[in-house]
Symmetry: C2
Subunit: 519 residues, 2 copies
Amino acid sequence: MSDEQQTFYAFNPATGERLEPGFREASDVEVDAALTAAAEAFRELSADDAPPRRGHALLLDELAARIMDLGDALLERAESETALPRPRLVGERARTVNQLRMFANIARDGSWVDAVIDTADPARTPAPKPDLRRMLRPRGPVVVFGASNFPFAFGVLGGDTASALAAGCPVVAKGHPSHPGTSEMFARAARAALASLGYPAGWFTLLQGRSPELGAGLVTHPATTAVGFTGSLRAGRALFDLAAARPEPIPVYAEMGSTNPLFVLPGAIAERAEKIAADLAASVLLGGGQFCTKPGLIFTVGPDDQRFVQQLAQKILSQPAVTMLNQPLRDNFSRQIGAVANVSGVTAVAGAGGQSSGFAATAPALFETDSDTWREEQKLHEEAFGPASLVVRCASVDDAIDCIDSLDGSLTGTVHIGAADADASKQVVRRLETRVGRVVVNGYPTGVEVNDAIVHGGPYPATTDGGFTSVGSAAIRRWARLIAYQDTPDDLLPPALRNANPLGIERTINGKRTRDPIG
Amino acid sequence: MSDEQQTFYAFNPATGERLEPGFREASDVEVDAALTAAAEAFRELSADDAPPRRGHALLLDELAARIMDLGDALLERAESETALPRPRLVGERARTVNQLRMFANIARDGSWVDAVIDTADPARTPAPKPDLRRMLRPRGPVVVFGASNFPFAFGVLGGDTASALAAGCPVVAKGHPSHPGTSEMFARAARAALASLGYPAGWFTLLQGRSPELGAGLVTHPATTAVGFTGSLRAGRALFDLAAARPEPIPVYAEMGSTNPLFVLPGAIAERAEKIAADLAASVLLGGGQFCTKPGLIFTVGPDDQRFVQQLAQKILSQPAVTMLNQPLRDNFSRQIGAVANVSGVTAVAGAGGQSSGFAATAPALFETDSDTWREEQKLHEEAFGPASLVVRCASVDDAIDCIDSLDGSLTGTVHIGAADADASKQVVRRLETRVGRVVVNGYPTGVEVNDAIVHGGPYPATTDGGFTSVGSAAIRRWARLIAYQDTPDDLLPPALRNANPLGIERTINGKRTRDPIG
């Protein structure tokens, strides 16, 4: 490979301008060096005489502070690489920093390890009962793939990295190739944070590149113990397949987007069609329609849904063209909605999705079809990543419920109900909850809270395993394995399991949750 | 296929006698019927108007009662199919019944769903905070593969089935083909229990057969949502690979056995060599050495370990021949220890593992080698399922610790220490905990408690994912997925998440654990 081939650049999606500097495609040697260093760092910090780090809380707080210290330079670079508007980036930065601080607090408290202690009973018959203590411990080096659509919150210091660091795992992050400058700024902040706290440099490494071989090398490296990914179904599934085929398989927690079906029941249409049309249009177009939670399928129930669809179309049509995150994404979106428009039985009710002015720009689009056509055409079940949605008009509530069984797994499912929909809404919710990771009633799925109760997950193909979430405090569980200690002397136990409870964490002792010491 | 080919029999491993009746190999049609019925039953019992079943606790209790009602007939059939001694089977039955009752209590309490509620804050800026409530819900139909070595506790109504039923999943179980009569008695008890409680028959189905195609058909059926397996690495990995290659991948929780390394440090040898030799010999030979937790690798540290090894050899040599669970297992064991004996640098210090009197009988065997030979020969790292163990003599504690890094993942790792081993024991435990799911100090890994703190899991190849356990209350987590409800009216929420807390479960509300209602 020549030097030229090994260098790639970001492009400004609004202008097409090539942005300096070039970034070097990481080599196999760098992959091996990064993961070997991560494994060594993990081993070093797991040693008995390693300095106590209170769950890496200081590191997470330090990362948050240093991201803020990057100031406007970070916003400017991200804006030029993604065309996302400044207020959005300011908001996303706050979310990213809050997320790091949330995980700092989780790490500082330490109770996430779910310590469970069943004390001994030497008098038990027929055999004495041993002392058993279990907890969650970090798996080891984690590989994180940054997403294109949230350069901060799902970027190289986003939720996957924050939760993995809080679990005590070192991270090798691959930046998304459409915003390498943004990723590099984060990595610089991370390197400074590690150095200032005396961490081994291998605790966090950024690798950049565009080639599928780079991703494959990261997932198949022997030192990698788990993978976090946010992106397309095609790429996520490819990494999942590679991980499953390893001599030692490892989990790939891939969040691969979804169609996020949204149902508008007749009572809701009767009560507030215009308000729903306006808010729904805003949700479809939020972030240029480039949210994994964008409502991509809108099921309406007749006979009075015609006006609602027209109102929705007007709201969407009145919106300006969207500059998408990068040109390949825009081209892919154009192809996808072109294919949708070509399905017999599908009508374009707003926009045509054709190319608009601007380098990676596209007009918002809304399509309409009937439930029979939708059920029959697999093409209409796929996510179109961009500012478009498809209205599926159903003849009745039963028809709409029947559609639920044909839905692929989704991150979210939304139902808009009115007073007249009491019975129907129950049926819809009970069916819809089997196909999604989050049910929303009378709201919109875009805008994902980062807290204890959120689930950003769902049945395949929304994710590779609906048992987990990639957002919120529960995301930490992905990076941990279970281990028990039997009849182990106190000084040989990890601090979390010692009698005195030196970390002061909440534990379950003989079935009772407490922060008390034992004995 | 002729009728003859479609029928198979159990054999008495002690006598070689063919046991009546014949059992029919389940067909593809039966696989489809069982999983379709399971999916329909799951749907039926998830419906809003399904009778409340309080987490299927009654079913689990009923199964326990009906297993006891099978009386001596169950023990007799199991004895004839497995050659396991009656007292062992009585003990295993108690364990199985206790396990079902433990999961009944977990289901009855209901708190396992880990309900987390973050209430709304309409006044929050810049955006109002929605009401979010998450919980674990059953994945759907689960396929369970029964193990050969625990016909009750890891059989078709064993821990995998008990935990899946407690999670609210219907089960299709494949009985191990070496004890089909035992499995059929359990299935009859289960069918009667389902009928007596008004369950759809599809909630539990037993399928029998020997062919790999049957297992493959169960794992690849579209209605299957997760798989539990206990058995060999070869079979478990094959099922894992099939599940990962499905259009919709599903988790396979396979527990595939392990070598269970056990370290005897110099201080322990100095203090109580003879006692350890006796107890360790008993642990190696427990259940004919056919435990997944059998110590198969014994690391001793010189220079004074020679006498200990001799004492251990004497204890093992003095034991009678073992009748193994079936002839293929015995033949495989003979091949494996023959290969171990042929490695240059390995000495047989007790028994030769040759064929003994009795149809599926074998003599216990103990081998010895040095740490260099062990590190170099991959063959010596594999589990030999049966009454044998390999002593690896290490020159020093550092040499023993170095061996840990060459260990494959194991269910357990044990360390015997004395007063003189204070420093060494810390180093050994800190390294060993990275390779195992359970650390045991001054005890033996055989004998697995069934409680809240147990972990029966571990890094690959002990299991397919060290994040889970297949024994104890935490095993239920495997069968559940995460779901959140956002701004959902109380009457549309599952009971576990409603304001009034009608189930009285423990929940986390705005960060505080409580059984209180909201508002």
